[in-house]
Subunit: 408 residues, 2 copies
């Protein structure tokens, strides 16, 4: 029987599902399971000592300010630091182009709040980031899926999608979650040109851009758009909203991320944030600035890169060794995930059930496809587990796959 | 001319105004202005040393966990601490009745998200908390104002409002923001009974409940509802959603608050939070637990009470001395605000403009009335400024009022 509370829920509440990923993660939280399911950074690389120093300095020198209410836009020195960092990649932004958010998920939510009317179409790569779909489902978005391959979104298929009149295009160009693939340079340029031609904005989600383990850094979409718009020397006011985060560079438990956008868009996002949570925790922003201000991040990211590169390499090596030849997978140049592709007709959710019996876990790829498909795909995280655990986990997963593929 | 971005905004974006309070606060941020406008705790009472100790302990003993992603519901030991605290006031809740939010503003937002359809009616006290109006305007709420007097909402007027079929009733029973008044015990009982009779839920917002400077603590609405429902000994599953916050007990810069609700409602709020920001900062929750766990809060709240009581007393005394006899004001038994009432026909916004020239500020009361009115009222904060500053500020404000009232 329904309870009186259920009769009071808003229509949008009926669209809410519990996060598929979260529910799966619950299954895999048993301590004896080797989980490649989460998207967790390695706790070994958290700069705990540096944090401790920063907390002490902040509380000793500016405790009252760090614990008080602060502005919705975010702590100005932190925004200035981000602006300087962004300028290194040839995009001219100033602090008023930047909003600090409580994690990237909040930036996705605010973008939905500001832009999406019930029934609006959003162009996404297929597969795409599940957190974005969750955020935007709450606003009644529909999705136009553009297929992708090992070089990211197949931009030749984009024009068809743009003619439908979407609200915006959402891309994760670097080491995409879930596939680990990177959007090729030529495709980035083509994307910027097409979006400009059709007047459709781009949301560039870039949580992992700094975490490259091989190959050359590629210019961001916002940078290419800045060039395309002839914005040389001027503050950015183009066609792209760019997002990134401290979750992968420092620690996700701080919930600190940022959005870069034309100032008028930032003003609307700020109004969303006033209504949503007033401002991001002052203390966290001040501490993150204290940690980051002396060039520490540049040094620290080298440690993260070395750690994750080793883990990726071990995982790729083990997969080549133990996975049946029918299984394929991506070779990510950075980030935290790779993508496994099972033989057509196999169901990764069924594989997961069996894998949990073998005490190993991953995320089935189906839910990353907003319009269905991808049942034979799987997202596998390589950042969280150490090399030894990766060897054991991939061995177990190899055994599951051999068993199920032979059975077929 | 409108820019291309403006044509992309969702309909709800057009309803967004920048926060009236925030815009006013900007005016009053000049350092030589004595501001009674904000709702800021006194930084002198932030337990900075205790925080520093807690940060050090947390980072030394559980740094990796404190900096990692965590569950949407919130840090379990913190929820257990809140459950124990709540049980002292005779409401049986367990951790699954509790969601940790990034400040109370986020709890208000999630309540809007879960319950409010465009055009739904919400019963509010008039005047009521501006942050709630801001949060719920984003969901297209309309308001039914119930008038209030020095004992809070005039509950005799409530039944008329309930017959309109509102989604819920929103009340701040203790030392209300903005008026500083407290809902009388008999009215609380009447409210609970009426709400139950009409099947309309109550949102009880209680940021200041612990900050009482005189008189007896009154039972919360959720506690009276628990009794009314005959919930003795059972986990709470009644008609009230209760909200409170660490912003006033510890420090607002942590952005930590909580919601207590029947478990099924918590599940819906958790789904909102998954889409909105995944979870509240782990570090802040773990540190707040470390600060609070040994009974520190009970001791610390005594310090806050003593500090704010003195400030309230100084302000009341000064007002009696220097305000023209045409002006009236409330006598709050706790909290952070009092409410000034100017002669009918006077416009507090005009008074503010003149006051800023005299280098003193407050918030005009008009915006706290969602259906208009109250132009002759003003919210005055007494928690932030020290007694000396309060004396000087009220003297200045008295001079402004004398000047303007004589002129009339």
């Amino acid at each position: 029987m329904e309870t009186p509370w259920e009769y009071r829920y808003a229509n949008r509440t009926k669209r809410m599902g519990s996060s598929v990923i979260r529910e799966l993660l619950k299954l895999t939280e048993q301590p004896d399971i080797i989980s490649f399911a989460g998207g967790l950074p390695a706790p070994e690389v958290f700069p705990v000592k540096k944090f401790q120093e920063a907390c002490n300095i902040v509380l000793e020198t500016m405790g009252a300010q760090a614990l008080q209410y602060s502005t919705t836009e975010g702590y100005r020195p932190l925004r200035e630091m981000i602006a300087r960092h962004t300028a290194r990649y040839s995009v001219n932004v100033d602090p008023d182009n930047i909003l600090i958010t409580s994690g990237s998920q909040q930036a996705l939510d605010f973008i939905g709040r500001v832009f999406i009317n019930q029934g609006d179409h959003i162009v996404v790569e297929s597969p795409t980031y599940l957190g974005a779909i969750q955020a935007w489902n709450a606003y009644g978005a529909q999705y136009i899926s553009v297929p992708s391959d090992e070089h990211g979104m197949i931009v030749d298929e984009l024009e068809k999608a743009l003619r439908i009149g979407p609200k915006f295009i959402y891309v994760l160009p670097n080491f995409q979650n879930p596939t680990g693939t990177t959007l090729a340079l030529e495709r980035r340029k083509q994307l910027v040109e097409l979006a400009d031609r059709y007047g459709v904005p781009i949301i560039e989600d870039d949580p992992y851009g700094q975490l490259r383990y091989e190959g050359e850094h590629l210019p961001s979409v916002v940078m290419l758009d800045s060039q395309h718009q002839g914005n040389n020397g001027h503050t950015y006011s183009g066609n792209v909203i760019y997002m990134s985060t401290f979750s992968k560079l420092l620690a996700p438990g701080l919930r600190l991320a940022w959005v870069i956008a034309p100032k008028e868009v930032i003003r609307k996002l700020v109004q969303s944030k006033q209504a949503a949570d007033l401002h991001t925790a002052t203390f966290n922003q001040v501490v993150a600035y204290e940690v980051g201000k002396g060039g520490f991040l540049d040094e620290h990211v080298k440690v993260i890169r070395a750690t994750y590169k080793e883990r990726r390499d071990v995982m790729l090596e083990m997969m080549a060794e133990v996975f049946p030849s029918e299984v394929r997978w991506t070779h990510p140049e950075g980030g935290m995930f790779l993508w496994g592709i099972l033989p057509e007709g196999m169901d990764a959710a069924e594989v997961l059930k069996r894998a949990i019996e073998y005490k190993v876990a991953f995320v089935p790829g189906g839910p990353f496809h907003p319009n269905g498909g991808g049942e034979n795909t799987m997202r596998i995280n390589f950042s969280y587990s150490n090399p030894e655990v990766i060897r054991e986990g991939i061995t177990r997963l190899g055994n599951v796959l051999k068993e199920l593929i032979v059975k077929k």
